[in-house]
């Protein structure tokens, strides 16, 4: 299980961004998680609590947007969303394809902040 190490990376990136923006408290962290990212959502949610302890993200929610695989079919010239990661075939014509256009994402998108406006001195 490497979700804890992923969670620490996540927190490091988010905490750094929060600090540069003079943010004192974060309400939520938004993450895009691809079906082929190799990361399990439930394990990551669990690890998030541990990884955020004692940081500016402590007590914040982890909001995960799950990104399905999108496969491009050269025959149909169409990119389709798959509801599986076990069969890489065009859902229209059934042809196999390796042209994966989406689904490997593991990306910190944004932070939701509700504290008072930052004070610049």
């Amino acid at each position: 299980m490497h979700e804890l190490s992923i969670a620490y990376h996540l927190v490091e990136i988010a905490a750094q961004a929060a600090q540069s923006a003079h943010v004192k408290q974060v309400d939520a962290l938004h993450l895009r998680l691809g079906a082929l990212s190799g990361v399990v959502k439930e394990a990551l949610l669990f690890s998030y609590e541990i990884a955020t302890a004692g940081t500016v993200l402590e007590g914040s929610r982890l909001v995960i947007e799950e990104i399905p695989v999108a496969l491009h079919c050269p025959a149909c010239a169409v990119t389709s969303v798959l509801d599986t990661i076990q069969v890489f075939r065009c859902p229209i014509c059934g042809q196999p394809s390796n042209d994966i256009r989406q689904g490997r994402e593991l990306e910190v998108v944004s932070l939701e902040i509700a504290d008072e406006q930052p004070t610049y001195s």
């Binding site: 299980m1 992923i6 890489f88 075939r89 008072e116």
Partner: protein
């Protein structure tokens, strides 16, 4: 309460690893060494396959070396060293996969002259989940599947199989005894990675090793170094 503010970040969680891996790959290209990452479930036969590979390559006058990741012991490194090739152990201390910074740290400590090598093999930790997410700067990702572990393994671990360039079916010498279903294994592999090349080998009898060495050589002849995937 004030209105919630949104602070945009848009950064890859593994960007550090990815960047380091890209730098490693550029470094390997410059030195002219082809790097191969071996992944599989525990006990699928990575060390045995690698030992046979190192031995054959050296017999053919080529210069391979190996980095081997293990949770706790250096047994695999000792087995590989019997081939006569330079070998170095990475004890991950419980970490279930290798990361690019472990490769660069160990290469720096090792002081191995990469320009004197043809191939550098990396035996990853036996694990079909976590190694999928970590680029090590390799040119070729090889997934090993033994005949004893079930033909549907690729369907259970599609992410890793999808991330690989070639599949090696190992322990083919005992295929009949364990009623290995070749057609089912091929179907499962191709479902999750259409067209992936599948090679069959036995580290015990040497069966199939010649095909594997030819495949490696074909990959090496391409420039910039890249896997032959179909």
């Amino acid at each position: 309460m004030n209105n919630p503010r949104i602070l945009e970040i848009r950064r890859g969680v593994l960007e550090k690893n990815d960047l380091l891996a890209q730098n490693l790959r550029a470094h390997f290209n410059e030195a002219g060494v082809m790097v191969i990452n071996l992944v599989s479930s525990p006990g699928a036969g990575k060390t045995a396959f690698l030992e046979a590979t190192l031995r054959h390559l050296r017999e053919n006058g080529l210069r391979p070396a190996a980095l081997v990741g293990d949770l706790a012991t250096d047994n695999d490194a000792q087995r590989l060293a019997r081939s006569g090739a330079p070998v170095r152990q990475i004890v991950t201390g419980g970490n279930c996969h290798l990361e690019a910074d472990m490769i660069s740290t160990h290469l720096a400590d090792w002081q191995l002259d990469l320009t004197n090598l043809d191939y550098l093999f990396i035996e990853n930790v036996g694990n079909l989940v976590c190694p999928a997410s970590y680029d090590l700067g390799e040119h070729l990702r090889v997934v090993l599947l033994s005949v004893t572990e079930g033909e549907d393994k690729p369907l259970k671990y599609p992410t890793l199989f999808n991330s690989a360039d070639v599949t090696i079916i190992t322990k083919i010498d005992i295929a009949a005894a364990v009623e290995f279903d070749r057609a089912a294994a091929t179907a499962a592999i191709h479902a999750v990675r259409p067209g992936m090349i599948i090679l069959e080998t036995s580290a015990k009898t040497g069966e199939g090793m010649q095909n594997w060495l030819e495949y490696l050589n074909t990959c090496r002849q391409t420039y910039p170094l890249q896997p032959i995937t179909t």
